[in-house]
Symmetry: D2
Subunit: 337 residues, 4 copies
Amino acid sequence: MVIVMRDNATADQIEAVEEKIRASNLRVHRVDGAIRTILGAIGDPSNVDIREFENMDSVLNVVRIMEPYKLCSRTFHPENSIIRFNGLELGSDRIIVMAGPCAVENEQQIYEITSNVAQAGATILRGGVFKPRTSPYAFQGLGMDGLKIMRQAADEFKLPIVTEVLEPGQIDLMYHYIDIYQVGARNMQNFPLLRALSNMDKPVLLKRGMSATIEEFLMAAEYIMSGGNYNIILCERGIRTFEKYTRNTLDISAIPIVKKLSHLPIIADPSHGTGRREFVAPMARAAVASGADGLIIEVHHQPDKALSDGPQSLLPDQFQRLMEELKVIAWAIGRTI
Amino acid sequence: MVIVMRDNATADQIEAVEEKIRASNLRVHRVDGAIRTILGAIGDPSNVDIREFENMDSVLNVVRIMEPYKLCSRTFHPENSIIRFNGLELGSDRIIVMAGPCAVENEQQIYEITSNVAQAGATILRGGVFKPRTSPYAFQGLGMDGLKIMRQAADEFKLPIVTEVLEPGQIDLMYHYIDIYQVGARNMQNFPLLRALSNMDKPVLLKRGMSATIEEFLMAAEYIMSGGNYNIILCERGIRTFEKYTRNTLDISAIPIVKKLSHLPIIADPSHGTGRREFVAPMARAAVASGADGLIIEVHHQPDKALSDGPQSLLPDQFQRLMEELKVIAWAIGRTI
Amino acid sequence: MVIVMRDNATADQIEAVEEKIRASNLRVHRVDGAIRTILGAIGDPSNVDIREFENMDSVLNVVRIMEPYKLCSRTFHPENSIIRFNGLELGSDRIIVMAGPCAVENEQQIYEITSNVAQAGATILRGGVFKPRTSPYAFQGLGMDGLKIMRQAADEFKLPIVTEVLEPGQIDLMYHYIDIYQVGARNMQNFPLLRALSNMDKPVLLKRGMSATIEEFLMAAEYIMSGGNYNIILCERGIRTFEKYTRNTLDISAIPIVKKLSHLPIIADPSHGTGRREFVAPMARAAVASGADGLIIEVHHQPDKALSDGPQSLLPDQFQRLMEELKVIAWAIGRTI
Amino acid sequence: MVIVMRDNATADQIEAVEEKIRASNLRVHRVDGAIRTILGAIGDPSNVDIREFENMDSVLNVVRIMEPYKLCSRTFHPENSIIRFNGLELGSDRIIVMAGPCAVENEQQIYEITSNVAQAGATILRGGVFKPRTSPYAFQGLGMDGLKIMRQAADEFKLPIVTEVLEPGQIDLMYHYIDIYQVGARNMQNFPLLRALSNMDKPVLLKRGMSATIEEFLMAAEYIMSGGNYNIILCERGIRTFEKYTRNTLDISAIPIVKKLSHLPIIADPSHGTGRREFVAPMARAAVASGADGLIIEVHHQPDKALSDGPQSLLPDQFQRLMEELKVIAWAIGRTI
């Protein structure tokens, strides 16, 4: 932390700031310039609220100089992390594709879609059973019954399952049926949920909040890691911008930025990131071209009849075509899919 | 819902859209203009995803024409709602002030601050015992022990208590100690929490999410009301904008807008809304001048030593001075405080 | 500027950064901590692009510690600036109200409205003659002919005029007819226009850009001041947020923030800031309560027939009523109007 | 335009709205539903301000159903537009790359860089001579002298030139030296500039404003087209988001959205879009993968000594490597470069 004093700060005022720094268990390093004095606060500032210094009349400016996260930082772990589960590796050269319906609706639907996506080359089955819906009057998911039929379909095609968990009370119930817990964008800062997942021995797919900065996104990962669960897969799923034509704006640039700041793998969700079927393929291609470690894509064989998010679901043959395109893009940047 | 067809839409394409409208249990009203055809879909569209129509090639544009919320709408309930509890009325001519520390820290602290705010004219005691913190390494609150000492202090000065609930599992534990449940900005769309609170017989103070639109804010209130709990107090607490100088930007205009769209009372939180002590008073005055039904303000007698958010807490004498200023502003607009 | 080196930076890498600092005509102040080295760059960094350092592999973080503006800063000029023109003072205890139509439409219209606003207590006449319109097909203003009839009406009621200038070529043409040049939100960073106004001896009303930070707003003022024109009146007119119910979101908090950072006076535009008549009065009251030095308000006697922005114009009697309310609010905070 | 009446609207109130519709030269189409009445306004609504209707007490909601732009819409011109100049085609299968320094600095610099980018396969030379800078104290460009030496370098390597124009007064001066006029992000809504360019017979590269919606972006193109200049190249160059790690966030999704709504070609600027050299290549690859018709990239042989934006400039060998990567991506999606 660096504290810049105002030009007209008196010796007493500077002394008061120095004392406050020491009271925070930090050492003071003082630089007297021609015009003003600058005070460096040396040590671990993670428990200091910099606004305390900003509020002092004699202080012009306070700047934090350290990242607030540790475990998920590339400084802490320079190599890429590879998340291993069910014989798969996420974060290696092979790009992993998760696919399936927005919501599990019934046995026939999930079986049909699982068959389609497995055949097209998806390696993980996605599907929601607890659905966070903006309206209390909308379909809220089949719950544990849905999860059980999803498990059967997944087993039939030997695919691991990723599905969303909404509250701490669901974690244990879901444990034996799932392979990856998904934390949705609205829950990125649901701290009780993050804390509860930090004790689990299964990977967590953590979606970026709709208006979260990348630092906040990484701090949410830090929450889970701080409890001992290091198997985090980050997921860019679109941010809120002023654009009204699409639901969200898929932030492709988050992919190379996260790769620089953190060792954790990151995937992209072009289905929620755009909200419209016709934009899923170009954005999936862009995500892979920019370095994403995977994709999560909604597929539905009867999107018109889907109980949620049909309009952003690819048809099975569209998904298959996309997988073909992605193979060439992956090859172009030295990866496989 | 109104669907605008493209200029070159064929008769078959128009027919396909009409059929899809009817398949959604809506009636079709067709207008053939000189250039293009417009189809009105008459009935209750709340279970229709308009993107289904947007995805059709022959469709130029789809517009929703109804508010998605009902119970919290002024259409449904034209008069202002007044929330009654502990002999108080929130939403009437008298402006209600909730005050207290960000977090309950110990018996002496909460007693001291409660004494101060009661004397200055606050009518409700605020204070956090379960704290949602961005960093897993920061102070997380005293939990139920904190709530019990807060209750004692509140009883001593005959003040009701408002405090934040973070997850469904805490609701029953807290019930006998609190008067108003607070839902924080990060939990505005924590649907399991909203649903659980919808069964309770105590009021809920619902804070607006950091980047929520007013429609989303009202939909969150609708979630709680849809379960039967109509005692909602809305709270504007600052939105995220591009401005970096303050943590958030208190959106004063949300106050008259909510008043127009909904019958629910709305208060403002200038402490979180600005994040800095020096801006609390001007923004509190602005909120009252614009029509807020109340305020929630952080006060601490030793903000330098506060375990959280000290920099945005008023000192007791600053709070007292603010209460005096607010009396005159309230009087200027025909209210009391 | 402070440069934080990575933990594993070698002696050579640190030396390379030090050399680069010196090459920028800055002195190096080095602090070797237990974990990492921090380099302070002492001197005037205004010509240094901090990203040059951020791009170096051995560098973790670079932070700028100085405000980029000088002349408009309160550090440079601690007292409030008072802008004087036509016997008026803007920035003193008396709150100044500018009022008039969005656009000058014809002689009768501007005469009628000027009469109304003068009678209600407005001290400056506003009105557009060069209109920046989003659509090329919309009414673009009467130009110099409109300005001339506006001047006649203003003279009749002894009011100074403020009107918008769109491009450098208009400045001289307008000079003899206006008292204050207005720079619109879309032109806040039209640098040729700012530069041209910096040579003029008439005040400039500078509106904040729709998504400008306060620092960028002040930098735009700095542009004008750097050429010698210190008579700047800042104007908060609403920022773009995610809210769709109003055109813009009037950022009331910008008022106390600007007052803290700068000595320049600031006024608010609740007409453009909300875009709807019904919200103008509550937001005007809020602006005054928060410390604004003035207001600029659209008034039209026949808003239904206005050629632009009728829906956000107050009727004359609404304006008169608002002026009465504002008198009481001004009095409550120790000012007059 | 569709106007939804409130449930309790009286016959008189509905009649008043109908009259107002007719007064706007529109025809009324009335639908009486079970609960409420809906009024369609048939005709050209481009001169109607929908807020006029929103302001009426009996009106619940007003929705615009038409795009406000015409000439740039795909409805108007279903085929892709191809911009032709100097023997090049922009908008066809071949992806066009514009490259060069941020600013022209001197003869030797522009010659050196032009040589490099020509050799690597760039087909257009970029370089600024009038620079819009946030600070009045920063380098403002070499002006016409810079343009002349840029022309010489370009001629030597047979490349057309694109460079930014800041104000109407520069258009004629620049005419004989340039091939494409560039309108910068800050000037996207500088209407006098757009209008002046609408009379020229050279193409315009129009950059998206920093917080512009795509509709506003297309309306700016419409401004230029409305005067007769149809040769517009759109350019996505990054929008403002909450992310602070990069200057801007390159909005890749704007590329497929613009392609859907408009027939105009669109290119991407990953240099300004990220502000940091290390992210230019991944984002350039993403832009091409998503369907961009071209790229504009900053290249500098001595970025450390660049007078502006060195940190976002690629080194010549980085640019060459990127061109190789892009060839494979282009091939993967059936295009060339």
